[in-house]
């Protein structure tokens, strides 16, 4: 068995755990509000609003910790994209997930101290953390202080457009969450990656 690699420092594990918990709360309360129905309330509306607001604020502060951590530690380097080889790298990785994994082929981008993420992971994480997260945080804060939102944007309600963007990004992040959790089962054992996020050590295949 290969040597375990310490890839997840304590701050990152805390950040990840808080993010995961808040994500679940935001997802449940967000769905409950979006599909609120007096006949079968998933979560009571006023409670859903309160919990969604609190979880949203925590996630926002947590995001600042992520930015700060990536700025001040070596963790930020894992998110640097190699744009020149991106397409071919993505194809290689997708081929592995779609076919190679069933043929017991070796992963084309094994995890090591210099490379925590494979190209597909890196691409989706960058898109999520540096693309979607800022948008959902900004739109969420705007909805928390709706008096700051421009009233009309091209004849449409500014609040509506903000809420629509917030909901669409929220949906995409929910999809990310489901897929992220599934791919986490593809470590050396189905639970190894989950253990890694507790003890900090990555177990190579």
């Amino acid at each position: 068995m290969s040597k375990r690699i310490y890839l997840y420092p304590i701050w990152l594990r805390f950040w990840h755990a808080i993010n995961a918990l808040m994500f679940l709360i935001l997802l449940a309360t967000g769905l409950s509000m979006q599909y609120s129905n007096p006949d079968w309330p998933l979560i009571r509306f006023d409670l859903a609003v309160q919990f969604h607001n609190i979880a949203g604020i925590i996630v926002s502060f947590n995001y600042l910790i992520f930015l700060l951590g990536n700025r001040t530690t070596s963790n930020g380097a894992y998110y640097k994209m190699n744009w020149k080889t991106l397409i071919s790298d993505l194809i290689k990785q997708m081929n592995y997930y779609l076919f190679g994994v069933f043929k017991k082929q070796a992963t084309p981008f094994p995890v090591n101290e210099e490379r925590k993420f494979n190209p597909l992971q890196k691409f989706t994480y960058v898109l999520t953390m540096y693309g979607m997260m800022p948008v959902i945080i900004i739109t969420g804060l705007a909805l928390l202080f709706p008096e700051l939102i421009i009233e009309k944007v091209f004849q449409s309600s500014g609040i509506f457009l903000t809420a629509l963007l917030h909901t669409v990004i929220g949906f995409m992040l929910s999809m990310f969450l489901v897929i992220h959790v599934y791919f986490s089962t593809m470590g050396s054992s189905p639970l190894s990656n989950f253990k890694s996020m507790i003890n900090g050590y990555h177990e190579p295949h």
Partner: protein, 318 residues
């Protein structure tokens, strides 16, 4: 074929007639009919200070007008009673100055004295408004001195008709009627000895109270809504007010039966459930897009299916 054309003609006529009948019945374009006659009154009552010649001293005196008797002439001529002469409602004896002191006790007309039982004004439902008022706490908790003029100023009344005003303007005007008393200690104590509760404190259970106050009318939650009424007047006991968020924040929002009920039907058929609300606002849980819902379910289903297939082959090739 001829019968079909006739039928279409009558349907069209009925539709046009219905549209026309929803319009304001007051001529707002032509000059006010009695402005010259009214000017005699407005010379004094249109200003904060008035002057008159004292017959005894022979001097010209200037006095401050009682603020309760100062009228905004501009607002009067923009209101629904703009063509009225002052003496249509007030005693002709007011033409004499100084006014006789007993004129202060003249009986005032209420809305129903002129508008009640009159088919001409049927679209405004005055009789139903009166019936609702008698059921409301404004009537049951107070004596007869609580009349229409407690809330509505006949000298400046504007009909906030649907279609001619934006929802936000209607909400602001209708809520101002409530706020004028319920947020003003002096006005509030005209009819009660109790201490006026602070509105923001009473409504502290509503997140973003100020935003709600700008977007929905007080009567949405505080009245028993009747389908035929645009402005419900049956103000309920406070314990019976709507307190459940989901009454509005759901796809079958009660706002569609009250605030938004006269908005165009076409707007509701553009894919968005309750799209009409989007014209002016956004109500969480009430605005849903049918197509977005379908697309999101399909995408989520595909993701789950993809994962299921992947799991299957992973297990099979283990």
């Amino acid at each position: 074929m001829r019968n079909i054309f006739l039928l279409l003609f009558f349907v069209l006529f009925a539709f046009v007639h219905k549209q026309a009948s929803a319009q304001l019945m007051v001529d707002m374009e032509s000059p006010p009919s009695n402005s010259e006659m009214n000017q005699t009154c407005f010379d004094c009552h249109g200003q904060k200070v008035y002057s008159f010649e004292n017959d005894f001293s022979g001097m010209l005196e200037r006095k401050v007008m009682n603020p309760n008797y100062v009228l905004d002439t501009g607002a009067f001529y923009q209101g629904v009673h703009r063509h009225f002469a002052c003496i249509d409602c007030h005693s002709m004896d007011y033409e004499v100055f100084p006014h006789q002191s007993e004129l202060r006790f003249e009986m005032m007309y209420s809305c129903i004295d002129c508008h009640g039982g009159d088919e001409t004004y049927a679209q405004y439902n005055f009789d139903q408004i009166e019936a609702e008022f008698f059921q409301s706490v404004h009537s049951s908790r107070h004596d007869e001195s609580f009349n229409c003029w407690m809330c509505h100023d006949p000298h400046a009344y504007k009909a906030m008709t649907h279609g001619e005003f934006k929802i936000s303007e209607i909400v602001k005007a209708h809520n101002q009627t409530c706020i004028d008393c319920h947020n003003d200690a002096a006005q509030f104590q005209r009819i009660t000895d109790s201490i006026r509760p602070d509105l923001a404190e009473v409504h502290s259970f509503i997140p973003k109270y100020e935003a709600h106050l700008k977007s929905v009318r007080c009567i949405e939650c505080h009245t028993s809504q009747q389908d035929t009424m645009w402005v419900a007047h049956n103000i309920l006991e406070k314990d019976l007010a709507v307190k459940k968020c989901v009454e509005c924040h759901s796809s079958n929002t009660m706002l569609m039966a009250s605030l938004y009920k006269y908005q165009s039907i076409e707007a509701r058929q553009s894919g968005f459930l309750n799209a009409v609300i989007l014209n002016e606002s956004y109500v969480i849980g009430a605005n849903r897009n049918f197509y977005f819902n379908i697309i999101s379910i399909i995408l989520f289903g595909l993701a789950i299916l993809g994962i299921a297939v992947h799991v299957f082959f992973r297990i099979k090739n283990r």
